[in-house]
Symmetry: C2
Subunit: 315 residues, 2 copies
């Protein structure tokens, strides 16, 4: 079984390695690739039985109604919030995503940015590159024995907790559901408000949902210990940025995020003026290993659907 | 019991926190503090019964013979190679050092510099600080599943191995003595030559001795896998730098060291021209926690000696 016509929306050449483009060719008789805002989408969608797309693309009631032959939407991302999965389900259209491919990549980035901050790595590297090998003026703190809070113990949070244990921190978590098997390994559960107020390091690991919006609300932000470090590899909506900015002004905590690209540029610019607000490009998910796994899962999803046994379905 | 006269050589004001200076005052009736090259040392040493000093200071036969009252030398460092401990022992002089205070600090730095390299952290931070949040062009590799070689499984190497295990790497070690209890935890032993040739990441953890000079010799350096990463937080003498430079020229491995300050400046300058040779100031040992532990052990050594139960003796 093959698709008759696959419509690729915003899947640019660089999104897949040549080997996976070849595999894709074997899965569809015809393939049409268009950028996000192309007016041609309206025409090409009419006879597509398969849409391949990224996470920023709207596939709503309008698009689904315009594609009477559509039976499958394959998202090359974990997030699929812009797809009307309820309506797709009603129409018998299967939607799949690519979950978990970057778990390790994101978890390791958390420690990369924590250690950069605790050890002044960028400054040290820059100074040494100029031939100045003096350690004078460098400060450092250890992860060991710090109260390290993982908020949200899903896949990524779980890995962050395991790595933290290796560092010998006082690792504690809060999550919607308690994980007794994890607790047996010395990863302690604590009530969320108490944990936030006692932590030296806080790492956020929630998906963006109605429940997690402003999870880090004003009261919680103001309860964070002086000198604490907050690492956010999650969407900005999870944090009340207005209150966070008030805390940043006091210069008694440090906030690190790799999601500044999703902020209103004026807000990003304003926040980045605080020395204790450190932004990174969204490099959490980009490891070679994650890139390969993502493509393999994506192609695997399509193959499984064609075999009549869809996996990673979200509709 | 107190010392009659403590002679401090090269222990500058900033080496101890006020609280420890106060404790020190309680341990000696008289205290004379002189910089390294002071000609006054010759005079002041004559009636000193205690010398406090750093690791760069010669306390040889000459100095010991000049100090007939000397009964104790306290080194504010782990290294004590410049002290003639054999001669001190013959004269009944106790020498103590400060071991192990920076174990965790050095072990965590190893991961700070590895992750900086694998995730391009300094470049990412710099770029984002200019308001450019694009991840385009960033490459990343994970520690997970990589063959991670710890060479020398002492205190620091042991901690590096434990942290590596948290990251889910294929952690293997070689050490002069096998550690069966560590092997039970999944840290595998491997013959040194085979391990060096199979490793993706190599972290060196030897003390400098006659046996470890050029431990990473030409043959071993040339056997290292293409693409490997070598982290040296140990003295440069452990590596054959001439052969290393030939490998660096081929640009197929990366070398990271925080000991460039101890290199001949001309060699440091030459090596630092290779993009795949990354130097840091010697910031491995400088964490707050290490600084405090170092002072506490140092003062504790003196107190124990005065109580007639010396600890951390090296003579």
């Amino acid at each position: 079984m093959k698709f008759k016509k696959g419509l690729l929306i915003n899947i640019s050449e660089d999104k897949l390695d040549p080997i996976h483009w070849k595999k894709l060719d074997l899965l569809a008789d015809k393939k049409v690739s268009l950028p996000k805002d192309s007016p041609q989408i309206q025409t090409e969608i009419k006879d597509a039985d398969c849409i391949l797309t990224g996470f920023q693309i709207d596939i709503g009631r309008k698009e689904i109604d315009a594609a009477p032959n559509l039976r499958y939407v394959s998202v090359l991302a974990t997030a699929y919030g812009k797809i009307d999965t309820d309506y797709a389900r009603k129409k018998g259209i299967v939607v799949t995503n690519v979950p978990g491919y970057s778990t390790e990549s994101v978890a390791e980035l958390v420690f990369a940015v924590i250690l950069e901050n605790l050890r002044e790595i960028a400054r040290a590297k820059e100074q040494a590159s100029k031939g100045n090998y003096s350690e004078a003026g460098f400060k450092a703190t250890e992860i060991k024995d710090k109260v390290f809070a993982v908020l949200g113990l899903g896949k990524i949070g779980g890995r962050v907790a395991q790595i933290t244990k290796g560092f010998g921190a006082d690792i504690r978590y809060w999550s919607k559901n308690r994980k007794k098997e994890v607790e047996k390994q010395g990863i302690k559960y604590q009530g969320v408000n108490k944990l936030i107020s006692e932590a030296d390091i806080i790492s956020l690991h929630f998906a963006e949902t109605d429940q997690t919006k402003h999870f880090l609300n004003g009261e919680r932000i103001n309860s964070i210990k002086s000198g604490a470090l907050i690492i956010s590899t999650v969407p900005n909506e999870i944090i009340d940025l207005t209150v966070l900015e008030e805390r940043l002004k006091k210069a008694d905590l440090t906030f690190i995020s790799d999601h500044a690209d999703e902020l209103d540029p004026r807000i990003a610019k304003r926040l980045s003026k605080y020395d204790n607000c450190i932004f990174y490009p969204p490099i959490g998910y980009i490891s070679n290993e994650a890139r390969i796994a993502k493509q393999e899962i994506f192609i695997g999803n399509m193959e499984s659907f064609l075999k009549g046994k869809p996996i990673n379905t979200v509709s």
